[in-house]
């Protein structure tokens, strides 16, 4: 029996994306990014002086990424505040963005990125990274390029692009697999994670799929940035 996706999408079809720049008036830069029901809002503050002073780096600036899932973002209320999961995602997202950021232009300074997940339906870290990079560009931070992130899932043996919650938990056959991948605008990989099991051949295929999907996301991000100024 051929496997079908629960929402009737094709295997390489992304959910409807939406991006908007300048959503938080008090921030120096802000953006929103959504994959279907997954909505992330990013706000950037800075570059500003690093406090406390002993954390200052006179050689280069610091990027501080905070990922936070709001308590009402999922069906079962989650405990608000930092958790082991959110700390891990913050760190991983920081590393995904860091290669494109020219943070050495701001010695002794810190750039704060706050990502809040308003609504979650899987791929939250990908939506978070996509929103964060738009917000960083909007804040006028120097960077070599922008990054786009997507998650690849596996329904038994079939690779699918941009997983939803049901697909993320699809445990029949080979088991639940979720691979978030981040690419820069010129096709370089900055971040890849794997939760589950996959063969080397299929992983290569997954990276190829992600690259194609990221190009699509890049266009959405580019459009959002260009259209924010009329």
């Amino acid at each position: 029996m051929a496997i079908k996706r629960t929402d009737g999408r094709k295997f390489d079809e992304l959910r409807k994306m939406y991006a908007k720049v300048g959503v938080v008036p008090n921030a120096d830069g802000s953006a929103m990014f959504s994959f279907g029901d997954t909505i992330a809002i990013a706000a950037v503050y800075g570059p500003k002086k690093m406090h406390p002073q002993h954390m200052q780096d006179p050689e280069k600036g610091t990027l501080r990424f905070t990922y936070n899932m709001l308590s009402f973002s999922v069906t079962d209320r989650i405990r608000p505040g930092p958790s082991r999961r959110s700390q891990e995602i913050s760190k991983v997202s920081e590393w995904a963005i860091d290669p494109v950021l020219m943070i050495d232009k701001f010695p002794n300074n810190v750039v704060d990125v706050h990502v809040n997940i308003l609504q979650a339906n899987a791929s939250t870290r990908c939506a978070g990274i996509n929103a964060a990079v738009l917000a960083l560009a909007h804040a006028g931070i120097t960077m070599k390029n922008i990054v786009s992130s997507v998650s690849i899932g596996k329904l038994d043996k079939e690779l699918v692009v941009d997983v939803s919650k049901e697909e993320e938990d699809y445990s029949e056959g080979e088991g639940a697999t979720d691979i978030p991948i981040t690419f820069t605008g010129d096709g370089k990989l900055t971040h890849i994670q794997l939760d589950g099991k996959i063969t080397t051949e299929q992983l290569k295929e997954a990276v190829k799929l992600a690259k194609k999907a990221c190009e699509e996301i890049y266009e959405v991000q580019k459009k959002a940035l260009k259209e924010s100024i009329k």
Partner: protein, 220 residues
């Protein structure tokens, strides 16, 4: 000069040997790419990107308005709403000052108009060696988005001069987005403030100087 266009980081602005990378751009192989988000502009081969959003980045020669944050033994630490604090040295004050009485010249909380004369690794150095600079004694200070400052000043100061003439107020625009308005009557100062806010809100409209003239006629 070519047409201005909005560019995003990583986007190729122009390619070819005859172009030079300016501010906000970088040379990569044979292409000039943008490294910040903003408007790209090319004049006689020099390509640059003008930022449209974000925090204020100090430049040498900028006139800024700041607040005295601390008094040290040889000068003042001044907050100019930039990532780093600026320092106004005693030697950059054009008159004699008793070294024990720095607070009497400028105390914590005082506002000052100054010029950035040097930026180095250690910080920003300010100077008040000119007639227009120094401590602000009276008037009001308003804060606008620093990216809107060029619009408030206008072409060769046309916009700010119009506001000055219409309201009779003295206006000093700091590049960091702080604006000092001082007039003889509070009504005039408030009118000038309203005019500045009008300009920042309508900053994307073309021919704004004429629009502002109409607005002044209506307000009076």
């Amino acid at each position: 000069m070519t047409e201005r266009k909005i560019v995003i980081p990583g986007e190729i602005i122009v390619s070819g040997d005859k172009y030079l990378p300016g501010e906000g751009t970088e040379k990569k192989d044979n292409d000039i790419i943008a490294i910040i988000y903003g408007l790209s502009e090319e004049t006689r081969g020099l390509v640059k990107v003008i930022p449209l959003s974000g925090v204020y980045h100090p430049r040498r020669g900028n006139v800024v308005i700041g607040k005295v944050e601390n008094v040290t033994f040889n000068g003042w630490v001044i907050d100019i709403t930039a990532p780093n604090n600026a320092f106004l040295s005693l030697t950059e004050v054009p008159r004699y000052i008793n070294k024990d009485g720095l607070e009497e010249v400028m105390d914590i909380g005082d506002m000052v108009v100054a010029k950035i004369w040097n930026i180095n690794k250690r910080g920003i150095d300010l100077s008040i060696k000119s007639r227009d600079f120094g401590k602000i004694e009276e008037g009001m200070i308003i804060k606008i988005n620093p990216n809107k400052v060029p619009r408030v000043i206008g072409k060769e100061g046309s916009m700010v001069n119009l506001i000055k003439n219409e309201t009779g107020c003295n206006i000093t625009v700091g590049q960091n987005g702080l604006i000092w308005i001082s007039g003889d009557k509070i009504e005039n100062e408030l009118l000038a403030k309203k005019a500045v806010i009008f300009v920042t809100e309508k900053s994307f409209i073309e021919g704004l100087t004429d629009k502002l003239k109409e607005w002044f006629d209506k307000e009076k």
